[in-house]
Symmetry: C2
Subunit: 217 residues, 2 copies
């Protein structure tokens, strides 16, 4: 059975998975890059995002966790706020995501939105599909598209939370970053005793973050 | 200069330092002992609370952090909700804390409350004093009583938070416990960018928790 996975999902110590005030210029709102500071120096991040094939990046514990992101994944589900900063009906069909013409997904990506639009085939195997569906129904569609591989729930916080609330996540990697954002979008609201469904491990990194893994019991 | 310190302060992953519904039977409300599960097996905890002098307890990383609690401390400041489950005016003077006749503090302890009552001298050097004061004023009084030693801020969450908000804490050890309490009293509210005042370290423990230390820059 294919598994439903979350990877590299960063939250602040006060539980925010995204800052306040997302915009074209500030994809993470007032959080800036602070939630990703552990991830940006890794070899995995550099290999994904530097098209020059430049060598480099750390290969320690942060990279060990980061590198699991793409392994065995056949489709991603993401919330619309991860796809772009627009809200409400699409003004036009020009926005094609934050990631340029060759996004790092290389699989079908299902964007949850009440405002449907035609699918977008990008270079490198990524196709964005727009669906208006419950977590369970979106998962059915994504599983079919994943061809037996796993499905990644890509965020943002409210999307991950809705899949957790529906008890659909099998494996989750959350990175707790020791900063206090104070405002934004919380991951953990309404999930009392979530841990009872999972085996939980926690390990600190020299970069200052704590990596937590939740594995379904 | 004596330092102002917090030790062994446990919070859930969703930021609660105490559960909901504190009562005589449930000192930590619905959280029960879950926030303390890392602490109870340590040699430090056992030595403090087992008057039989029984040997035993773990001596790993959890105990290393736990054992710093009493070192160099000359006074504690605590909130009234740490002292007892009563609210409002004292019905009588019978309540003498949760800790029996020989409390583990062995120093003056200043209990912050709007409802004053006479000091209580216990066995073993602990005296409870009741004061109605701001964090800064309470600290002045406690520093005087500490005779050059450090002052510990003992909790609960709103007391620690008020001292953090007033920028009065020098060293803080917080243990993040990977459970979701969902309700209770939050530690981190209103403290955006707290980390900018501190050097922060994070280390995981085999017991499953993450120990964070904040040291004033």
């Amino acid at each position: 059975m294919s598994r439903v996975r979350v990877h590299n999902f960063s939250v602040s110590l006060d539980g925010y998975g995204a800052g306040e005030g997302q915009s074209l210029e500030a994809p993470f709102g007032h959080a800036g890059n602070r939630l990703l500071a552990w991830f940006l120096p890794t070899r995995t991040f550099r290999a994904i995002h530097e098209t020059q094939g430049e060598a480099g990046g750390t290969t320690g514990i942060d990279d060990a966790f980061a590198s699991k992101w793409a392994q065995g994944i056949g489709a991603e589900i993401m919330g619309r706020n991860k796809f772009g900063p627009q809200r409400g009906p699409w003004a036009d069909d020009e926005w094609r995501g934050w990631w340029g013409e060759n996004p790092p997904f290389h699989t079908p990506v299902f964007v949850l939105t009440h405002h449907l639009r035609p699918s977008i085939a990008m270079r490198g195997g990524t196709t964005f599909h727009f669906i208006d569906a419950s977590p369970a129904d979106a998962l059915k569609v994504a599983r079919e598209a994943a061809g037996g591989l796993d499905v990644r729930i890509g965020g943002g916080p409210s999307t991950v939370r809705s899949f957790l609330a529906a008890d659909l996540i099998d494996d989750m990697h959350v990175t707790v970053v020791p900063i206090l954002l104070g405002r934004g979008e919380r991951l953990w609201d309404g999930l009392e005793e979530l841990e009872s469904h999972f085996d939980v491990e926690c390990v600190g990194s020299p970069s200052g973050v704590a990596h937590l893994t939740f594995s379904r019991r």
